[in-house]
Amino acid sequence: MIVKLAWKNIWFKPLNTILSIILLTASVAIISLLILLQEQFEKQFSSNIDGVDVVLGAQGSPLQLILSSVYQVDAPTGNISYDEAKTWMKHPFVKSAIPLAFGDNYRGFKIVGTTPDYLEKYGATVLEGKLFQKDFEVVIGSEIAKKLNIKVGDKFFGSHGDAAEGEVHEEFAYHVSGIAGPTGKVIDNLILCNIPSVWAMHDAHEHAEENPEHGEEGHIHFEGDEHEHHDHDHQAETSEQGKEITAVLIKFRNKMGFVTWPRLIAQNTKMQAASPAIEINRLFSLFGIGLQALQYLAYGIMLISGISIFIALYTTLKERKYEFALLRVSGASRLQLLNLVLFESILLCVVGFIFGTIVGRVALLLISSSTDQEYKMTFNPFAFVWEKEGILFLAAIFVGLLAAAIPAVKAYRLNISKTLANA
């Protein structure tokens, strides 16, 4: 009944109530949005790092190298010689090395030349069809298959570069041989083929300008033959002369490589070895400053909403003292009045918190759809970060208690005889 009374009371003067709730909603929405964004962003970034100790790539910004080769969100730093890279891939420290060759995209989804190890690294299995074996056979990431409605056996032409509007390679069609299962990692939004496909596509493209007919036919025939009769290594060796790739994802056998490689590579080659863990940490700490500032702002708004609740409760105290006296006359104890005022404030905060949580998630949904278009990155608005959101909830309740403390004590101390005698 006291809660019902509190509930009715806060809606009896709706203007004050709505102002307080709007302020609380705004602050809770911002904070919960930040919490979800940060959490999911970090999770996505960290889960993609798994199994990559170092990325070998062209010199330039190490962060750019990591972003482009691990997360597929930035332009590559350049190409490296496959010959040179291969000597390092065979280094005794190396446990596994996955070469990557970028070149084309299909409607904005990157086509990446690599080895089947890449799928394995992300724990992706080929759900339908089979793995790419011949040149121009591709395995489609699960998200792409869903979004573009591609099935096994479909054919498509890639566009050059990483912009969907790039020049279309009309010489060769990619042939969908398989569709990968969902992993929740970047691989879901990639089209994978073998590395010779990428080379062939661009060789053929270069030749095509001089001598299209010959280059095109000759190449297909040659690659196809090779694959059927020889093992993978041999095929690679014959066609990799002077060829370039974009990056190599390296996992070490022991920590030594992790420590020594960045210097070793920088001193001896034209390449660089960048650590995803270090670069991403750097990125997060850069982000962190901005996120922190926003978070402070949001807590500031929460404080203001607390002040608004306080002012609303305090100013109505004068007109409500007869109501309080009346409750006392009807048998309410001092404590019940104290609780009434506290409940009113806490109810406001709970309502604000619920609205804020909803608004924050709607905002995340909107952000998710725009990042999905631009970066092929989605966020789940229905996830809960219980611990942090729990703390946020407690903070909201605390603000409510703080705002109501003085009015509640005044109600507790109310002298009913005096109040009624002066009525």
Binding site: M1, L5, F12, E323, A325, V329, S330, G331, A332, S333
Partner: protein, 209 residues
């Protein structure tokens, strides 16, 4: 039902009141009259347990209310004392019926909705029960406060100038209802007033000097 003995009260030692002893059985009516500043309201607040007497004792039923702790006094007041004020105050956010039910809940922890409905019907407010109290006329509001005072069937009904803001018709109406219902519910009724209309109607009077 109610007995007082040697009641005395003083406001910060300057204004002193010594009240005559009161003894009243259930169903009886007592009018307390007297000029302004003679302590009418103070006496009423003492009887209602809103103020603590400096000395003397008040017995309501078997309970000496001076001996009750604050919390028990609140409970006792809710259950055993009905108070009707000069200006009816209500919980504005609640409807007429909810206001009456609230009193029963505060005193007993039970929501006596049926009883509240029948009581309000008896007071001629059957059509007003779902309205906010501020929508009612003053006469109707005063009847709601009678319903609220009676809902817990108190032993003692205290009324502070219940008719002073009412016109003749409403004043007589309220006076009739008060005496009728206090008999019906077995409550001792004490009315503090300077209203001549009430003085003419009730003969059992004490005048404070």
């Amino acid at each position: 039902m109610i007995q007082t003995k040697n009641l005395a009260f003083s406001y910060s030692g300057k204004v002193n009141f010594n009240f005559p002893d009161i003894s009243l059985e259930s169903g009886q009516v007592l009018l307390i009259t007297g000029g302004s500043g003679k302590g009418k309201t103070t006496l009423l607040h003492l009887l209602g347990g809103l103020l603590k007497a400096q000395s003397g004792s008040i017995r309501i039923g078997d309970t000496n209310i001076e001996s009750l702790s604050d919390k028990n006094l609140d409970k006792f007041r809710g259950k055993n004392i009905g108070l009707i004020l000069q200006q009816p105050h209500f919980v504005e956010a609640f409807s007429v019926l909810e206001n009456v039910v609230l009193s029963s809940w505060l005193a007993t922890g039970q929501k006596a909705e049926e009883k509240a409905t029948s009581l309000l019907t008896e007071l001629g407010l059957a059509d007003q029960m779902t309205k906010l109290t501020s929508r009612l006329s003053i006469g109707q509001q005063q009847r709601v406060s009678i319903a609220r005072a009676l809902i817990n069937e108190p032993q003692l009904l205290l009324a502070d100038e219940p008719t002073s803001s009412l016109d003749d018709e409403n004043a007589f109406n309220v006076a009739d209802l008060l005496s009728k219902l206090s008999k019906e519910y077995g409550a001792a009724l004490i009315i503090v007033t300077h209203d001549q209309r009430l003085k003419d109607r009730f003969s059992n009077q004490i005048t404070l000097l």
